[in-house]
């Protein structure tokens, strides 16, 4: 850190620091990336900066399912081809990509953006639980599939949602993915066959 300060100009220094904040990027990689940007043509650099800005300025949360989108409601929530009576609840937007790859789910989604974890300062008020309950209470929903990752925190989140949905809308069927996923594995990384089977074999909570 100290030696770099002596040789890099302030803007380069700043860029290195920004890259260093990214997940999985250490000081060495941050330097490499910064010097790469330094050598790229101005148009390419501008395109990169614009793409980053667009993500922040044009991507929003879908007001229905909370997934990231550039239009509200998102294409899945707006689709008349989807079954709006079945909501599949996932932890993160990436989980939707994994489930969509299976092509076996025709319903709609709800993204929690996290799981309950007091150690990380996250309670049910910090994730999109209220929004889900709002959708369920509004009617027209017959089944909620809880597709949490098979971790302790995923299971606790699942139990909490089950209890809340049952209290607010006792008629709604609540199911969970079949135990095809091994404990501790991520939905995001599960292969399509495993996910399809987990969806088909879903069980009442």
């Amino acid at each position: 850190m100290a030696e770099r300060g002596a040789i890099a100009a302030a803007p380069v220094e700043k860029l290195i620091d920004e890259f260093n904040k990214l997940p999985g990027i250490g000081p060495k990689s941050a330097q490499r990336l910064a010097y790469h940007v330094l050598r790229t043509p101005p148009d390419d650099a501008r395109a990169l900066a614009q793409a980053i800005l667009d993500v922040k300025e044009r991507i929003i949360f879908c007001s229905v399912c909370q997934n990231i989108t550039d239009e509200d409601p998102c294409s899945i929530c707006a689709s008349t081809a989807r079954d709006h009576a079945a909501i599949c609840v996932v932890e993160e937007p990436l989980d939707i990509l994994a489930l969509e790859r299976t092509r076996s789910f025709k319903g709609v989604y709800h993204v929690l953006h996290g799981v309950i974890s007091p150690l990380n300062g996250i309670t049910e008020d910090d994730i999109k639980v209220a929004e889900l309950l709002g959708r369920v209470r509004a009617g027209g929903v017959t089944e909620v599939i809880l597709a949490m990752n098979p971790t302790l925190e995923g299971d606790v989140t699942l139990m909490t949602l089950e209890r809340r949905i049952h209290r607010d809308a006792p008629a709604v069927r609540v199911t969970r993915l079949a135990r095809g996923l091994s404990t501790g594995s991520d939905l995001e990384y599960a292969d399509e066959m495993t996910l399809t089977r987990a969806l088909e074999g879903r069980q009442p909570v």
Binding site: L152, D155, G184
Partner: protein, 414 residues
């Protein structure tokens, strides 16, 4: 079951060690503080992934390997079950340790070269460790007795180990939530799901512990009769916190057990929130070692306590054998010198009955010539090992040139 090879790098006082171990008895002979105990600790680590001596993994790292602020410690063993060998490996990456702080260590486990979790590694090598501090199990705090149960059960019951790991995580999360509720940043209602997990894992742990203690108690009583003059009856009694909730001890069915946990948790909720920690669960369990119904830890003489501890270890070996169908490796850490003739004979009988024993001692004359003749003897000095002839004398000839012939089983770089 036996350990055929043991390799250490940067482990405690060993820079590098490659050791071939035969089945049967091996004796590690040397002065104190030369690395005998460290060897047994390494083997116990391979069996359980945990040390009997410390909960800070960074302590394993050879101290002068830390010079550049980062060090890799490696323990590799080859465990044989019949002719089938399994390579098990623990690697520790230690970092930091500046400003007088202990370094932090990250532990990586591998089985046959493939990264594995503890639940997948434990069970490939079974071990029972006898030490002169075993008496602390009777006289020390309850945490030591819970740790004893956990280490013993984890070796042969993967479901137990999984429940234990999950329970520990539940405790951390739930304690944090209790603190947040106490500070008004969460509501008691949010405890419900954590309570269910606590009850689920807690009941599994309590059930497994109760069963194990019953088996250990029967085995230990049997061993104790042969070790003592039979005037007293040894027993081990499991005293789960939950038993205080109900007259007549633990209920028979798991469903009733869960209900008992549920009632106890609800009853103590206000206290738990005030304390900011979980007050109900198997983390409050205890064991009592008794002689004719009286606590041996509280009322026994030193000699009686020593015999009870020895009976417990021998029963533990039988328990592991019964449950797994495999002979555990016996690790005897300098315990023979403190035993009288009769108890020493009982231990050596157990050694002869099992497939492999690793024994440390400062005095070879504790063994009969017949026993020594059948054992491999290693001389341990300052973190280096040399195999000496089975009769106990050092090999003839000058060490330097003969080393390759007299010590084919040991190789090490300085």
């Amino acid at each position: 079951m036996y350990l055929g090879q043991l390799s250490l790098s940067n482990f405690r006082n060993y820079r590098r060690l490659d050791l071939e171990l035969p089945a049967g008895a091996s004796i590690f002979w040397g002065e104190n503080a030369q690395g005998k105990t460290n060897l047994l600790e390494a083997v116990y680590l391979l069996a359980t992934t945990r040390s009997p001596r410390t909960t800070n993994d960074a302590e394993f790292v050879r101290w002068d390997a830390m010079e550049d602020g980062i060090a890799a410690t490696r323990i590799i063993g080859r465990a044989y079950r019949g002719r089938v060998a399994t390579q098990i490996e623990i690697a520790l990456m230690a970092r930091g340790g500046e400003d007088g702080q202990l370094p932090k260590a990250a532990k990586r486990l591998r089985v046959n070269g493939i990264p594995r979790r503890a639940t997948e590694m434990i069970g490939n090598l079974l071990a029972v460790l006898f030490t002169s501090q075993d008496i602390d199990l009777l006289t020390g705090p309850p945490a030591g007795r819970r740790r004893y149960l956990d280490l013993t059960l984890s070796q042969i019951d993967h479901a137990y180990l999984r429940a234990l790991q999950r329970y520990q995580r539940v405790m951390q999360q739930r304690n944090m939530l209790l603190r947040r509720i106490g500070e008004g940043r969460a509501t008691p209602e949010q405890l419900a799901s954590w309570n269910e997990e606590l009850i689920l894992q807690g009941s599994a742990i309590t059930t497994a512990r109760a069963q194990a203690v019953t088996e250990l108690s029967i085995g230990a009583a049997q061993v104790h009769r042969t070790l003592s003059d039979q005037r007293e009856q040894m027993s081990i009694r499991y005293t789960p916190q939950l038993a205080e909730e109900r007259r007549g001890g633990l209920p028979e069915s798991v469903e009733e057990l869960r209900q008992l946990y549920r009632t106890a948790i609800v009853r103590r909720q206000a206290k738990e929130i005030a304390a900011g920690v979980s007050l109900v669960g198997p983390h409050r369990d205890d064991l009592v070692f008794e002689l004719s119904g009286r606590s041996a830890g509280a009322y026994g003489s030193r000699a009686q306590q020593r015999t009870v501890a020895l009976a417990l270890r021998l029963a533990e070996a039988a328990f592991l054998r019964e449950r797994s169908g495999e002979e555990p490796v016996l690790l005897l850490d300098d315990i023979l010198s403190e035993l009288d003739q009769r108890r020493r004979a009982a231990v050596l009988d157990a050694v002869l009955a099992t497939q492999q024993s690793l024994i440390t001692t400062a005095e070879l004359d504790r063994f009969t010539p017949a026993f020594l003749a059948g054992a491999a003897v290693f001389d341990v000095a300052a973190g280096t090992l040399r195999r000496v002839t089975p009769t106990g004398g050092t090999a003839a000839g000058d060490q330097g040139s003969d080393a390759a012939e007299t010590a084919p089983a040991v190789s090490q770089s300085p």
